[in-house]
Symmetry: C2
Subunit: 232 residues, 2 copies
DNA sequence: AAAATTTATTTGAGCACTCAAAGAAATAGC
DNA sequence: GCTATTTCTTTGAGTGCTCAAATAAATTTT
């Protein structure tokens, strides 16, 4: 460390405006979460250390501890961050779908294969954490909270859709579970296949299967999922 | 260690027969794989060390290295072991199903929810390794080999079944992918739900969905999956 | 200058793996 | 049949390294 020019020439220009402080913290946290994600994708969770995060962020190891207290909490925030991106996606898709349960269900399924949620990076993060979830209550809890909200949304849409055609709540729950299983399983294949299966193909398969399952609304649902439905 | 009776009473019966030596190696390997599995279930993969394996096996740390060269190779053998148990299960189920593609497909689906394959212990091991698979080519390779054999079996059964009723190979492949996604997704739910969902319920859901998907053979397939088909 | 933030260094625990030696079983020599 | 020799197993303290976390130092902001 050599002498750096001490004080700026007294003038104005505080290259850093007002709310600098609090904004800075949020920025740093985001930066560290992104760097941790990058390291998990490149090295796996087990080989992601404060050193790899520090290298990916360009910051020192101390910063991560300063903003997240310890490595475990940083990791938990990474998981939460990815779930929140996903949740924002499907919640807003659902909101835009309006009142029609067919469109609602289609929106939820489409969201699952939106490249913003269903991409290698996100899948690697999810699987990395799921793999350790049974040994880390903190990870399991975060997954639970978000998964159950998504479950509820799917089941609610299924219930409205099926009750319209005179089926029971029990059938709606089973159907919801099946749709979730189908999308989870397609994620699994997208994750493990080395780029062989894309999110786009996942969506097509999902549409195809779901169409078979809802005889009464299958065609319309499938069209809505694929985005080929004509506007009303 | 106190005095143990030195030589056996000269008679026949050498409490340890001939191949003692080579059998010993197989026994030890099995013992170490079981101990590693136990530690992964209890501590997670990341916190499974040679020390936890040694504690679980009652052997010294050195033995694990002696029989498996290093920790990574021991872990790889654990993954392989679980895949082999699973593969033996579905291969023999398939063999017993005879020539009827409906029974073959049912047998494959039933095997996926057989408690011998689909239990918390096995799921924890699988998810632990899948979580690291993208960062460890060795794990990815083992998964690939076994997954693709299973895929092929499912697709073959689907093809025979669908071609019987005049559908195309393309449809059979899509259907196979869908069935696999469904079972993978149900595994996912069984794994992450804290015992809320059992293998038995998974099987019921799978039967229900698959029945909807094969209009021509759905009823029979469903009955075969649930084991409620009457004998011919 | 006082407080807040960032960077750099130190520390001590825990890790995989080594290795020399001991123990046990199989084989050979008498 | 008995002992000596060799081969195979097992042990566990030891080695060097990596890591998370703590601490200290420097820098910036107010």
């Amino acid at each position: 460390m050599q002498a750096t020019t001490k004080s700026p020439p007294a003038g104005t220009m505080p290259a850093r405006p007002r709310k600098e402080r609090s904004e800075n913290a949020a920025r740093r946290r985001g930066q560290l979460i992104a760097a941790t994600t990058k390291s998990i994708v490149e090295n796996g969770l087990a080989r992601t250390t404060l050193a790899t995060v520090s290298a990916a962020s360009g910051l020192s190891q101390g910063v991560a501890v300063f903003y997240f207290a310890n490595k475990e909490k940083l990791f938990a925030e990474v998981l939460r961050h990815h779930y929140e991106l996903y949740e924002r996606l499907w919640v807003s898709a659902l909101a835009q779908a309006g009142d029609d349960p067919v469109r609602q269900l289609a929106a939820l399924i489409r969201a699952d294969f939106d490249p913003a949620a269903c991409n290698q990076e996100a899948l690697i993060v999810w699987y990395a954490f799921w793999g350790e979830a049974k040994a880390r209550p903190r990870y399991a809890e975060i997954s639970d909270i978000h998964d159950s909200r998504h479950s509820d949304a799917i089941r609610a849409a299924c219930a409205r859709l099926l009750i319209e055609v005179g089926r029971s709540q029990e059938e709606a729950d089973a159907l919801g579970a099946g749709i979730e299983a189908l999308t989870d399983g397609l994620w699994h294949r997208i994750y493990l296949s080395h780029g062989t299966m894309s999110a786009r193909e996942g969506l097509r398969l999902a549409a195809r299967f779901v169409a078979n399952i809802f005889p009464e609304r299958g065609e319309r649902l499938s069209a809505e999922i694929l985005g080929t439905a004509q506007e009303a």
